[in-house]
Amino acid sequence: MILLTAPAAAAPEGVHPDDPLQSPFLPTVLQLVLPEGARVRFDDRVKVQFPAIAENQRQFPVQVDARAVPGVKRIIIFADLNPIQKAVEFAPHAAEAFIAIRIKLDQRTPVRAAVEVADGSWLLAGGWIDAAGGGCSAPPVSRVKGDWAQSLMQLRGRLWTTPGQKVARLALAVRHPMDTGFVDNVPSYWLESLQLRADGRLLADLALNASVAEDPAIMLMPHLLDGDSVTVRGRDSGGVELAGRVAGQSAIPAGAP
């Protein structure tokens, strides 16, 4: 009985006593990915969703849905055991607390979200995923093909809106090798920021790291007015900029989640 009521005492050194995933380094990882002194707690209202199998460790889809949490200021997606832990930091200024993205996995690891709420504290959730090694140390496909420069920073996108509904869906895809710096002599080089606006209103800011998968592909739920289009500005770590505009196209079909 005593053991059952005092699990914290049994946690190995380095394991956060409340961590449901019992990751070996969570306290250290939190120091790397969150602001100093961040207060954290684990909260099931944050849904971190991904497939049961990491079929491709270079392109692993992760979706964070924190719409059940009021007042979300930021969402950070990170993987404890990746060499670049933080993948993306997303500030939904006028958007739902929802992001889907693909990341790299370097080995079996917890994949998590940290969600900052109004009082400045952070909510954590996530799960373990098994993965073959090397997602961060294999060369990007476009480096192997040699065509990365021809399409660099090319932006694709699509917007799904429903008349009278403020919540839209926005898919963005940017061609970028997202070099981690762990392959041969190729230095790290990544798409580092995206900013979305509609008619001058700031919708969202994203800060990305090289642990986001090659050719970053992102789904967001911005808040739009009828007839809005979304302008996108971005910059990579070499100072190359991108700009584009995504206009409303298709209605969200009934029954879509």
Partner: protein
């Protein structure tokens, strides 16, 4: 020194290793002189040693013919011993239906001169086998000890082949992978279809070309077989049930993924799509759907998101 002697003494007191894992293979008669060793209807895992594919054994006067060789050296060796017990003769030839490691890596246990594959598969052995091997060692550990896939020395060509008085017909197709071999035993009308056909198990698509796969299924449907041994799942006692089932899944999968993308779904949501009730009898359907999303989604997305750069 004391500490070390202590340690050695302690080790001497316990079994050094758990017994090396052994494959417990069961042959199931299919037709006169043909058996199948059924694979587990599960993903490759430590619990099954990678023995998830169906392996067929055919008796001939010249020796046993194996269609596929298992996942590891030890698996191949166990299959060879089983074939000898069943047929009274050693293995005379091994046909590899395709390169996927659950079917091919057991060829490690046979001399290259007994192993036949299409030229495309032989070329893949030189190119892709190392990557598959790394993945298998990670998943299977000690089961894989000593496994090294040889370059097949014999060429499998489409057409009739006579081995020890047994007339076989080979079909070189593609679609499940870049090169898929199917084998028809003329005397019994048994079609051994490799992974072009799955039965009561969802098809796997890691290297699939869906239009080519459909064409291959069309061809397999018209060979006049009595029964069919699929790459995974139970033997189909009819000529076409498993072929139709495989085709139905592929026909559902591709439009379902395209529709999901058109509807603005994410990859995660596509992997959670409802699976139609008619596929309720297929093992690992959810897992294979999520794998297929990983295989097809990025290319579908690239084709369906318009360029919007200024």
């Amino acid at each position: 020194m004391i500490a070390r002697r202590h340690l050695l003494g302690a080790l001497a007191g316990v079994p050094l290793l758990a017994a090396a894992p052994e494959y417990r293979l069961v042959a199931q008669p299919v037709a006169a002189g043909i058996w199948v060793v059924r694979g587990a209807d599960a993903p490759i895992a430590m619990a099954n040693g990678g023995a998830i594919a169906n392996i067929s054994i055919i008796a001939t006067d010249a020796g046993a013919v194996l269609i596929d060789a298992g996942a590891s050296h030890r698996h191949g060796r166990a299959l060879a011993a089983l074939a000898r017990r069943l047929t009274g003769k050693p293995v005379a030839r091994v046909y590899l239906t395709h390169l996927h490691p659950d079917h091919s890596f057991g060829a490690s246990a046979f001399p290259a001169g007994l192993v036949a594959a299409t030229p495309a598969v032989a070329a893949q052995v030189a190119g892709d086998a190392a990557g598959f091997s790394t993945g298998l060692y990670r998943l299977l550990g000690d089961w894989m000890r000593g496994t090294e896939l040889p370059a097949p020395a014999l060429v499998a060509e489409a057409g009739p082949v006579l081995i020890g008085g047994r007339q076989l017909r080979l079909f070189t197709l593609s679609g499940h992978s870049a090169s898929d071999l199917a084998v028809l035993d003329e005397a019994t009308g048994t079609l051994i279809a490799g992974d072009l056909v799955f039965h009561n198990r969802a098809p796997a698509t890691p290297h699939a070309d869906l239009p080519a796969w459909r064409r291959a299924l069309d061809q397999l449907a018209g060979l006049g077989q009595q029964r069919l041994v699929p790459g995974h799942g139970p033997v189909d006692p009819t000529p076409g049930t498993a072929i139709a089932q495989t085709r139905a899944w592929l026909d559902w999968l591709e439009p379902a993924l395209k529709a999901a993308l058109e509807a603005g779904l994410t990859m995660v949501e596509a992997g959670d799509l409802p699976i139609p009730p008619r596929f309720a009898g297929l093992a690992v359907a959810r897992l294979e759907l999520q794998r297929s999303v990983a295989h097809f989604w990025p290319a579908l997305e690239a084709a369906r998101l318009p360029r919007v750069s200024d």
